[in-house]
Symmetry: C2
Subunit: 338 residues, 2 copies
């Protein structure tokens, strides 16, 4: 029931509204996009599009704006691939040349993504499945309280506090030695099994301590750093100063909640390619008036970390999607090369 012309009109409405930021009428439409029909015809088609719920009027006698449903159709069927500009491409390529370590790499990534999309960027720390354990440190901070630290071959450092129970310094040193001896240079893929095996071979006097430490170690070495996200480009939110109380505040609040961001990225970027969540489609209530564009990234097929941007529903989807995809790919490639 939506013929080609109606789709073309919807595409034009989305495009125009995104770039002009104000409702678009039938006359402007035929003038700016070569539709080769009269405004009256466009109006008839727009009436149909409105009935079907793809566009809406803010008020009578104003132009139309796309609805979430309209954006969805646009993204799924109408968006044309928009290649990145030379400057954008160069920005991506430049940003990682000087990365010192993983922290720095992620910081640069989030900065770059925010810059080229001109939106708020979110990058989750990568899972480095190719990494192997380089050192395990078990520190006794005070009686009962300790800290477990795992250093892997990429230079990533993960830590987790542990309750040491009644263990004394000697027991801690004993276990630390055994852990390092048994697990050093284990690839991440086999580490869980090795930890389990080690658990059965320990002398009885270490059983209590091991029972407290080993679960944390398993968690650390199989899900390193997954719990951290980095946010950048927050100042870009000031571009929407008009809808401040309604839209910006909830977004700022969401951005301070690591847990929320992780859940958000996790839900959105399940498949390998770029995924878009538009307005109401977001399950997290305060972000119902924004869109999220995200992608998984990582080494090989095992992409379990995510990155993306958050912006207004009226965003330039083709460009944003292209940028997110490009950054995700570059980052993956960089990680593969070490």
């Amino acid at each position: 029931m939506l013929d080609d012309r109606k789709l073309a009109i919807l595409r034009a409405i989305v495009t125009d509204y995104v770039s002009m930021q104000e409702p678009v009428g039938s006359r402007a439409l035929v003038e700016r996009y070569r539709l080769d029909v009269s405004p009256a015809t466009v109006r008839n088609d727009m009436a149909v599009l409105e009935e079907e719920g793809y566009i809406a009027q803010p008020h009578t006698s104003a132009g139309r704006i796309p609805t979430d449903k309209g954006y969805r159709l646009f993204v799924d069927r109408l968006g044309q691939v928009k290649p990145l500009s030379v400057a954008e491409r160069r920005a991506i390529e430049t940003f990682m040349v000087g990365a010192l370590d993983v922290d720095d790499l992620i910081a640069r990534t989030v900065r770059t993504l925010a810059q080229i999309t001109r939106q708020v960027a979110i990058v989750q720390y990568p899972m480095l499945t190719g990494a192997s354990v380089r050192h395990i440190e078990l520190v006794r901070l005070s009686p009962g309280r300790g800290l477990l630290i795992v250093v892997n071959s990429t230079g990533q450092v993960d830590q987790h506090p542990v309750d040491l129970g009644e263990a004394d310094e000697a027991q801690v040193a004993d276990l630390r030695g055994r852990l390092n001896a048994a697990l050093l240079d284990s690839p991440a893929s086999t580490i869980a099994a090795r930890i389990a095996r080690l658990g059965g071979q320990l002398p009885p006097y270490l059983n209590d301590l091991a029972g407290r430490v080993l679960p944390a170690l398993t968690e650390l070495s199989t899900q390193p750093h997954t719990t951290r996200v980095v946010v950048g480009g927050v100042p870009n939110l000031t571009r929407f100063a008009d809808e401040f109380e309604t839209a910006v505040r909830p977004v700022l609040e969401a951005l301070e909640e690591q847990v929320v961001l992780l859940k958000l990225l996790g839900e959105v970027a399940s498949a390998g390619d770029v995924v878009v969540r538009i307005g109401q489609e977001n399950s997290y209530e305060p972000l119902r008036s924004t869109s999220v564009v995200a992608s998984g990234y990582g080494i090989g097929a095992d992409q379990r970390a995510n990155l993306g941007v958050v912006g207004p529903t009226r965003m330039d989807y083709p460009s944003t999607m292209a940028a997110v995809r490009a950054v995700a790919r570059y980052l993956s490639r960089y990680l593969e090369q070490g």
Copy 2:
């Protein structure tokens, strides 16, 4: 030239403007604060205060608002100590009970400070001078590139990438062993000297490598974590939605620049007590229309880390200063107790 009554009027103006957020006139002043004189008298005094530059009129026939100079006088001589409310005090006490480690402690601190001041909070990572080196790890990531990691007794983990030059795995392991043997459990106060001494005792074949690693190690062990700050309470900026383009955007941009924040805190909080920078007094241009309230904190007299808040010049200085001071003290005490 400023008699008591004029000072009382200035205090009343500041107090009223801060709570009401709008210019205050002579009538309202005598009504709300028991000044025991007529509005006309107040007007005369206000004329003097305006001449001296302590207050200003947004436009003719509007009330007066304090200038930066007026706030300065208020903070220096007129602000009365405002004790924290029970709820605030309890919030501070509660926030650290469950702190797992240093990261968690800092995260909780920034959250608490943002919550009770209702402003943007900034907390710098603490210098732990009482700490001793617990483990040194030197990892070779790829030929030439390496990572130096220092774990201290409080569970804090610092890392720094190093250029390993031509060194092979054996040399790296050799140096790592010597570093740990020589430096383990060194208190931070003596570590620099020990590193220097060790440098002279190394066999020649380690000279090149040591020359690359030792400077980084010295830096890490004497200035651990000082380069990191954590920001919280950003959503509070939405309370000033009116002055958006002018004030909020530059603040958001500043908050993304760790370097700027460090410099800011460093400049402000030099002495042990709470320090206030008001508007123009800030050297960093984009923050010229905001005020910074900061304090040093740390263990003993050796307070070299800082925390504070950033807010509009029209803030409640007594309350904010009390909150910053209280949080700084609690945090210091907590760190001392380990």
